[in-house]
């Protein structure tokens, strides 16, 4: 990819990358930093990518790796197996309800989904990525992507239903602290 195409690359992907980063980092400051860092890595290494069709996956993979590099994984993964069958836990959330909710509130619900489910779920809702690409970006098997999408949707619907009823909104801690 030629250097003059870089601004076009930024224009095409920065918003989607930012949204993915926001769902991971849970605050706009860190999400902006992650997005910037992703394009910096592209500027230094991405040019060696020979297949232009892989650019999108490369950028999302890089952002995800930068996020993981920035912090250690906690114990939240343990909760994955505790959810039980997804099929039993999906509340019926009216589509109209989602449409009427404010976007930040919907994003807030998405951010409360367990991280292991939130990662594929956000990539899925960005709609530019297939389950195959999501598996590649997150380095997990295809079956695991499908399982996490299924369970993640169940958890998301539960959270949306709670928020629609005026349930408790959990404030997330800020990662970047200014003096």
């Amino acid at each position: 990819m030629q250097a003059e195409a870089f601004p076009q690359l930024v224009e095409t992907y920065y918003a989607a990358l930012y949204r993915f980063a926001l769902s991971l980092a849970k605050n706009s400051s860190d999400a902006g930093d992650l997005t910037q860092q992703t394009f910096f890595v592209w500027a230094t290494k991405g040019g060696s990518l020979r297949d232009d069709s892989k650019v999108k996956s490369w950028l999302f993979t890089t952002l995800y790796r930068e996020f993981l590099r920035g912090r250690r994984r906690g114990t939240r993964m343990v909760a994955i197996e505790d959810l039980g069958p997804a099929e039993q836990e999906i509340p019926d959330v009216e589509t109209d309800l989602v449409a009427k909710m404010d976007a930040p509130l919907v994003m807030n619900a998405l951010q409360e989904v367990d991280e292991a489910f939130r990662e594929p779920l956000t990539l899925f809702y960005l709609q530019d990525l297939s389950y195959l690409e999501i598996a590649e970006i997150l380095s997990i098997p295809i079956g695991t992507v499908m399982s996490r999408l299924s369970r993640g949707k169940a958890q998301l619907r539960t959270l949306l239903a709670q928020k629609a009823k005026g349930g408790r909104v959990i404030e997330f801690p800020q990662q970047g602290v200014r003096p």
Binding site: A43, T95, A103, Q127, S130, L156, P179
Partner: protein, 244 residues
Amino acid sequence: MNHHEAKFLLRARRPGGADAKDPVFAEALAETERDPTLRAWLESEAAFDRAMAAKLREIQPPPGLHDAILAGSRASQRQPASWWKKPAWLAVAASIAIILTLTRRFSGSDSSTQAFASYALQDLAVNSADHANHRPEVASLAARFTNTSLPLPGNVRVDAAELRRLGCRTLNFAGHEVFEICFKRDGHWYHLYAANVHDFSHGSADAKALLTTKGRISSTAWKDGNFAYALVTDAGPDALRRLI
């Protein structure tokens, strides 16, 4: 294929035609053609997915992020390998580097300090909402800058280990660690960004401060032997000039 299996697969299918040719979904989709209950479920699921995707698209990046990415990329002064690794470009780059070095010797400033000032300016513009967050641990540090003799260039003394210990906010500029210290002086907020001077492509010390203004935010940058500094304020260029 039972309902549970079909739903499990179809939850990974994007609404719209993006996955229309994927054979993984073919059998499950065929099942929806035979089963009205399953078909109704799929329509409801797709509508929910579309609504979620639409809500996600409403989330807009902060104003200025796009420009900050481009500015940061220019500042890195490194380009994709597919062209910059070519010998001809290396020769051109070497020539440009010599010219820039000579130019800098006479102008007393350089492109990397200027890019650092632009980066700091963009950071304040993009993340202005975060600047109300001040940790008590660093209050003494902020007070030090409130009372530092003027001009700040030449009188600022910071220690990276101390900044890390106090929990200063850190950022990333072109792959390098940057500390930010917010302090108030004469009723105005200022934001000092500090990075290891050796992280910069031009390591010369004592480069003069240049002033950049964009909208209501002004920034300047300078170096000493250890750090490159960028000072930013939204109090206007005159408020900035009083400190440099």
